[in-house]
């Protein structure tokens, strides 16, 4: 079990916190982007796709 998680069980707390705060950002930033795009305020420049943000 321990080798599956790559770090010993005593170390899970800090690593879970680190991974959690990193992973949570993906839906959070996508949510922020969707709010901006839905607002229709074009002058903010929320244009392009996820890899090419130009017009």
């Amino acid at each position: 079990m321990e080798s599956f998680f790559l770090v010993p069980s005593q170390a899970w707390g800090p690593f879970l916190l680190w991974i959690l705060v990193t992973v949570v950002q993906v839906p959070w930033i996508l949510f922020c982007l969707s709010r901006i795009e839905k607002s229709g305020v074009r002058r903010w420049g929320a244009s392009g796709n996820m890899f090419n943000t130009g017009d």
């Binding site: 916190l17 950002q25 901006i36 130009g54």
Partner: protein, 397 residues
């Protein structure tokens, strides 16, 4: 060929590459907005590179392994997690900063436009600028000292020569404004990643692999310094260590809030071509950084296993220089040293630029009765970059 010559050749090759990249930035600077914020037209690749290279400073590349060596896993709880949480908050900062149709050029100016839009002379802008200057002075001196110590130890150059050589490139890469910083960050971010993975890979191979590292760290009782009291077995894996839970919560949030609003990061959001670029910068950048922090973790814990304790009279900051000189061949050592130099340079040049801009743009330009022509203003800023750089280097000696 001696080790110093090999390392010297690698460092010179890096610095030549840096100058070639940075030169392209000088050609882009045609106005004050281009100088301060790249004309608000930095694309995704530039912003991600700038984010990564600026984030990975000398303190994260050398200071964090030292802290892991001394404190163990609380470093992950308070610093890794705290800093990474900062990028979630950056989304909010980016959203706010990019709301105006015409984004501000500096973070203190943003405060003026947001809270004192009709003031002819903004006191708030001056206070924010003074805070920026005060905070950056210590940080830049720290970067200069770190590079000076490591370069002097590994190459044998006198410390004063090492810091003044660093100063030349620091000033050069900052003096073209945001564009030269951004072009330099392209090469720096790649080199930092290469250096970290090389160093991490070598240390991991020397200690017998990932699982052997954790087993040894769990069992170690070696004190941080030779002659110190032994630590309890398993103490390195404690979640909060000797900090205690309340202090650790404070460290976590201090790192998170501090990282989110640092002016050089806000400047990258202002320099981005639009709000979407500003928001995607931390998202993609943090994925890249997460991978880069694995070798940083290995350097700290692997260093603990290889060296056990730092000799008495030397601080844990000697960890990286000792690993470089005792466990790496000159070619690998040279590449890693160049990566450390890149990490320090890419952070310190942005801080030096924004330090100078705080004085010229947010204080002098804000308080002056008559407008200053853009050319004259940029010349003043460049002179101030040189002056402040020299003063801070002298302070670091």
């Amino acid at each position: 060929m001696s080790a110093s010559i090999i390392i010297g050749i690698i460092l010179i090759a890096y610095l030549v590459g840096l100058v070639l990249f940075t030169n392209r930035g000088f050609k882009e600077v045609t106005s004050l907005t281009e100088f301060t914020t790249s004309g608000h037209r930095l694309g995704l690749m530039f912003t991600i590179a700038a984010f990564v290279a600026t984030w990975l400073s000398a303190s994260s590349v050398t200071g964090i392994p030292s802290m892991l060596f001394t404190r163990g896993l609380p470093t992950v709880t308070g610093w890794f997690a705290g800093w990474f949480f900062a990028t979630s908050l950056m989304a909010v900062v980016a959203y706010k900063i990019r709301m105006p149709e015409r984004p501000s050029r500096t973070l203190p100016e943003f405060f003026k436009l947001r809270y004192e839009p009709y003031a002819e002379k903004s006191g708030l802008q001056v206070i924010a600028a003074l805070s920026t200057v005060a905070a950056y002075i210590a940080y830049i001196v720290l970067q200069i000292k770190a590079v000076g110590m490591i370069v002097a130890t590994v190459t044998g150059l006198p410390y004063a020569v090492a810091v003044f050589a660093f100063l030349i490139f620091l000033v050069y890469t900052a003096s073209g404004g945001m564009w030269t910083v951004a072009w330099g960050d392209l090469i720096n971010s790649v080199l930092i990643a290469i250096g970290l993975f090389l160093a991490g890979g070598i240390v991991l191979s020397k200690i017998g692999g990932w699982h052997a590292m954790w087993a040894a760290i769990a069992a170690t009782t070696a004190p941080a310094t030779v002659g110190g009291a032994p630590i309890e077995p398993g103490a390195m894996l404690s979640t909060v260590g000797s900090f205690g839970a309340a202090a650790m919560v404070g460290i976590f949030f201090a790192n998170a809030f501090g990282g989110a609003v640092s002016p050089h990061m806000a400047a990258r959001m202002m320099g981005a071509r639009n709000v979407k670029t500003a928001l995607l910068m931390p998202l993609y950048g943090i994925g890249f950084l997460f991978v880069c922090f694995i070798p940083i973790l290995i350097l700290g814990f692997g260093g603990k296993i290889l060296l056990a304790s730092i000799p008495a009279g030397k601080g844990s900051d000697w960890l990286i220089p000792m690993l470089l000189t005792q466990f790496m061949n000159p070619v690998i050592g040279g590449i890693i040293l160049a990566a450390i130099l890149a990490a320090a340079l890419s952070t310190a040049n942005a801080q030096l630029l924004h330090n100078a801009l705080a004085m010229t743009y947010d204080i002098a330009r804000n308080l002056k009765k008559t407008p200053i022509p853009e050319d004259k203003f940029m010349t003043w800023t460049k002179i101030l970059i040189i002056g402040v750089g020299v003063l801070l280097t002298i302070a670091a000696i």
